[in-house]
Point group: C2
DNA sequence: GTAAGCAGTGTAATCGATTACAGTCTATCG
DNA sequence: CGATAGACTGTAATCGATTACACTGCTTAC
């Protein structure tokens, strides 16, 4: 292994000078700088990252906790995180938690053992274990999309999910829909509550009931959409419009509806959430809410780095703008009241 | 910061004993073990990861170089990588290269500076810069899906892309197709060459020509599929079947074909490659080749760790099995020879 | 001509661990 | 009873850097 000592011997200077040449080139003479640089090249020397980290106490790494890697929406966020981190000289440790607490504990522990300087949580849970909870209070941590549960004071970057829920609801109500179904994801998350509250807000203002039995599903997967549709259609009052709480669910829902011979949106309208790449290329293209996922990832990193550097935050909540994308999976409600069978 | 010294004072033992209690619990007395563990708990102590790494010379991290995070196929691979790494006590540093050499250099450099112990490359390029090339010879590196270019001797895990190309071609030829189009991704990659060679192999055996002008596209994106279809349909002889060299391209191609009023597969058959999650839920579901992406990621890690530990490899090429999924986007070729307009 | 100041470099302490080596204590054996 | 082995524990060197402090030599000011 080529270390700083070897280089210093090669260059005929002290290790201190080598270190200075590399970190603060302007404090050494041009002569020595040249000597040192030549030795560095000759030896193929790279400072040992770990050693530098021990000394400086900074790892220049961030951990990102993701419940599920395959969701393209998360990946957009992570892309933003990765870019911004890179630009600030940080690197990203990937923590696929699969939503399991033990995994979260493990990855979150990285910050406590100086393996990472900060933590970005994409899920809604507090990722530390009970016994680490106290230590964790001072850990730089930010959540994106979700809000960390409990009355913790961690900053977060999220969408105005309530308003987005309202926007979608208004959109469908204005098309004359009165019978709704909802296929939900993780029920325990704040996202779920906010989106549903937004939808419910509009519906109750309009005097439209949303029965508990018409809210089905509990995971953000394509299969949930399929099962959700089956469940909704087995109820006595069939919906003419289905809110899917993310695009994957909507993909499954649309697939199953078409398989059963329903036409979208003529028989039933479907909406999603997130605007993943494919949703614009489905048949029909999916009406959904666009989230600036990439930008949200970037913002999370900027906030986190401020936290790490102990710079003051202007605000601890960052609400990003959404955009309702009215595409062709939603349309006017059927006129007649009886489409009990096709 | 709570360090080992503080704990040792708290427990009334030496730092050596603390270290031993944590790493080799069986060499200390039960008494001291208890004392130490109590102090560890009381102080909320976690060994400093960086310090351990400096001493042991191992970072227990792997870098993964990905050209594009949003491709769900890559994410499946990374999921496998992440899982396997975790199980072996390694963590994953994510390197989104965007296909740029400078980025690759940066991330690959992590191994040279002891920030990571090994490297997994998902792209086909040799990720080190010219001046690092020599040092890089001894770096533990594995490529997945792709093969690192140049006559380097790095192990890789891949599909039999040639055979998979042949399988798809056989499938379409057996349906009576004779006029083909290909929408390709990255032309420089080995994958591209192998898949195309497989297709070409079958076609030439069958005496079916594949003109250069019917091979279009050069990136693995949905938009490539759209543009590719436009380009193919503007040629004088229109294809009755289109090979898309990945599923994203196929998604775009199907979308554009349907937009132009073509029926799939009645007018034109479409095939993909990779079997990403959504491809089974498209309308019609996409005929494609399934790659065991998750498993490939796992295998890559296993091989890499063997390399890191300098254990001998049984073989340096790992060819994974594929599976042709015949779904509904492909079917019999139209009988008539003239479907010049619809 | 001497003191002060400054630029450039070296010496050695330090970061937080691990671990070779040495030392202490107890148990066992002849 | 003394020697010896074995079980624990402590001391201090070490990993590969960074950096406070000290030192040297030169310039400038009085």
């Amino acid at each position: 292994m080529t270390n700083i000592k070897k280089v210093s011997e090669l260059a005929g200077v002290s290790t201190a000078t080598v270190s200075r040449t590399l970190k603060m080139p302007d404090v050494v003479t041009e002569q020595t700088r040249e000597k040192v640089m030549k030795a560095v090249k000759a030896a193929g020397y790279r400072p040992n990252w770990m050693a530098t980290s021990v000394k400086t106490g900074k790892s220049n790494s961030l951990v990102v906790l993701v419940p599920n890697l395959v969701n393209p929406f998360f990946m957009r966020i992570i892309e933003g995180i990765e870019q911004a981190a890179q630009e600030h000289g940080y690197s990203v440790l990937l923590g696929d938690t699969q939503g399991k607490a033990s995994r979260e504990n493990d990855y979150a522990g990285m910050v406590l053992s100086n393996r990472a300087d900060g933590l970005i949580q994409l899920d809604h849970s507090f990722p530390f274990s009970e016994q680490d909870a106290e230590l964790a209070e001072s850990v730089p941590m930010v959540s994106v999309c979700e809000r960390i549960e409990g009355n913790r004071k961690f900053p977060y970057v999220e969408l105005d999910n309530y308003a987005a829920g309202r926007a979608l609801a208004h959109h469908l109500v204005s098309y004359g829909h009165t019978k709704f179904g909802v296929i939900a994801g993780q029920r325990t998350s704040q996202i779920h509550r906010d989106r549903l509250a937004g939808i419910n807000g509009v519906l109750s203002e309009e005097g439209i009931p949303l029965l508990e039995q018409n809210i089905v599903g509990q995971s953000y997967a394509i299969e949930t959409g399929i099962e959700g549709v089956r469940e909704l259609l087995s109820n006595e009052t069939k919906p003419t419009a289905i809110f899917c709480l993310n695009d994957d669910i909507a993909i499954g829902a649309m697939h199953e509806l078409k398989r059963q011979g329903f036409s979208i949106p003529d028989d039933i309208s479907v909406t999603g959430f997130d605007n993943v790449k494919v949703s614009g290329y489905l048949d029909p293209p999916l009406t959904t809410v666009d989230q600036p996922a990439y930008e949200m990832g970037r913002r999370a990193v900027e906030i986190l780095i401020k936290k790490i550097r102990q710079e003051p935050l202007r605000r601890s909540r960052e609400i990003m703008p959404f955009q309702l994308l009215e595409r062709q999976s939603s349309g006017p409600a059927r006129n007649s009241a009886d489409e009990s069978d096709i």
